[in-house]
């Protein structure tokens, strides 16, 4: 699971209103090389929940020096964009789980695949 995906995932357990962002408990993380496209990164940033991204990177110990707030004029800052690129696309959680912040329900991650299926009573 990449952190870009994590940024979009939310808990949909019945009755939960504050199911975002999911907490990450990772037991195996991998870094994979992905081609850097600065335009992709700079256009993706406005679509993201920035604080959730930073928090997630932090939980994995891969925050490095990503700032808590967006730097102004980031579109032209290639160094910054490269850092964001790494965190969005290159860091992957292979094993672990995602936890709903409100209900505590855990969704396992195995082979990089989060299993978000709910049981009948949770729907």
């Amino acid at each position: 699971m990449k952190l870009l995906t994590h940024n979009m995932l939310t808990s949909h357990v019945k009755g939960v209103t504050k199911g975002y962002p999911l907490l990450i408990k990772a037991t195996e993380v991998k870094v994979n090389e992905v081609d850097f496209n600065p335009q992709f990164v700079s256009r993706m940033i406005p679509k993201l929940e920035w604080s959730a991204l930073v928090q997630a990177a932090d939980q994995l110990g891969h925050r490095q020096d990503l700032p808590g707030d967006l730097v102004p004029d980031y579109e032209k800052n290639e160094d910054f964009l490269k850092k964001v690129h790494r965190v969005l696309l290159e860091v992957e959680v292979l094993e672990g789980c995602l936890q709903c912040p409100e209900s505590g329900r855990e969704f396992p991650i195995s082979r990089g695949i989060p299993n978000m299926l709910l049981n009948e009573d949770e729907v």
Binding site: E33, V34, N37, F40, R43, I113, L117, L118
Partner: protein, 487 residues
Amino acid sequence: MSSHHEDPAAEQTSPGDDPSVSSTCEADSAVITVTIGATVPTGFEHTAAEEIKEKIGADARISKDRGRIYFPITTDKLFQVHLLRSVDNLFVVVDEYDRYQFKESKEEMLMELQQLASKLPWKNALKVWELNRTLKKKKGHRKGGNAARAKPSGETGDVAAADAEQQAPPLETPPAEADAKTESAPDSEEAAAEAKLTKFRVTCNRAGDKHSFSSNEAARDFGGAVQEFFQWKADMTKFDIEVLLNIHNEEVVIGIALTEESLHRRNISHFGPTTLRSTLCYGMLRLCKPQVSDVILDPMCGTGAIPLEGAIEFNSSFYVAGDNNDMAVNRTVNNICHIQKRRAGKGSTPGLPIDTVQWDICNLPIKTSSVDIIITDMPFGKRMGSRKKNWDLYPSCLREMARVCRPGSGKAVLLTQDKKCFAKAISRMGGLWRKVLTVWVNVGGLHAGVYLLKRTSATFGQTPEDVHEPRGAADTQLEDRNDKELS
């Protein structure tokens, strides 16, 4: 295009000329123009023509015979055809007849086909065939012959190209006959003798109700004449040259195949029961015109064919492949890993902009309005799911898809065979989805539709569609009319 038939006396390959023996004539390195024929998924002929214009710069002509397009190319640019993602098979045209006058009787017709073999302008087409073989060898193409169909747990039969990163190899004059099909290193004398003998087969596709003969008969008789003329050996399974005889009503095209296996299974090594052809996936992706940073979801991804094709070919977007089925998500990950290993092996950056999640399409764990494009193959009543299930599934899907899709700019490209069910479901969703166009395609022999939808700018949760509505009189009338149109 008008009938064009060259003077048989002029450009003729004389009998006894074995094309696998190269001549040292200067004309071999001269650039010539030929017509290439391509088979594409029916319904996506225009998409393929667009890709050809974009990547090769040629104007493609769409044949009346559905699923076929033709375009001119010079031999120095031949390698480019292997970069096309929308074509299933490629062949070089030997000759074509727009309005072939078929003889009335079967005997006369078959006799004519036999005579045709010796009159056709084979030379240029054979040169292109030879050149193409060289190109394939350079790419390290593994010749598995017909047996190399992808197996569930094994390797892919690596087909001739289709990797967008491949650089064009420089062209050389065709090599000598020793290059003919010898995979391992057998006894030298036997190998040399085997190698000298060119093996061929004829494949005939015939469509139309005014012919007095069958495709088998035509293939047999034409093939016999070809064998006689060239002194090649006929072999239906282990052939070097595949001659194509395509007859569609009055249109007759003779060609030589340039692709061994269909290119359409190129990305998938782990198949599922309903895996889509990559060429069809490519056609669907082109339809939604992925932009830089678009978030693209396939919420019923099966083995991941669509998002994987996207991640390779339209790689400035991000793909999330999802399914509720255990085997499906695992196969998707296996397919992704397979491609990444292949890329790493070729020295490219392995990682792809794609991720896999296990989820329920009717209750997506995705934030509202966070997705730009939804592209998927919806379950067909016959191959997966059931008609009754689709009745309930389609409206729920469309609603959930509308929720996660960005209002105003969002799009959906949905493939389904259950046109009735889909039309009914969409007719009640005018507040959320607007139908832009439909492409009619053929999927495994079943007639299906690819629907391009635009997400309206209405916020989810504020239109009547978000709530289940009881059927009113107006709805019934609309449905009756739609039913009549579709039956």
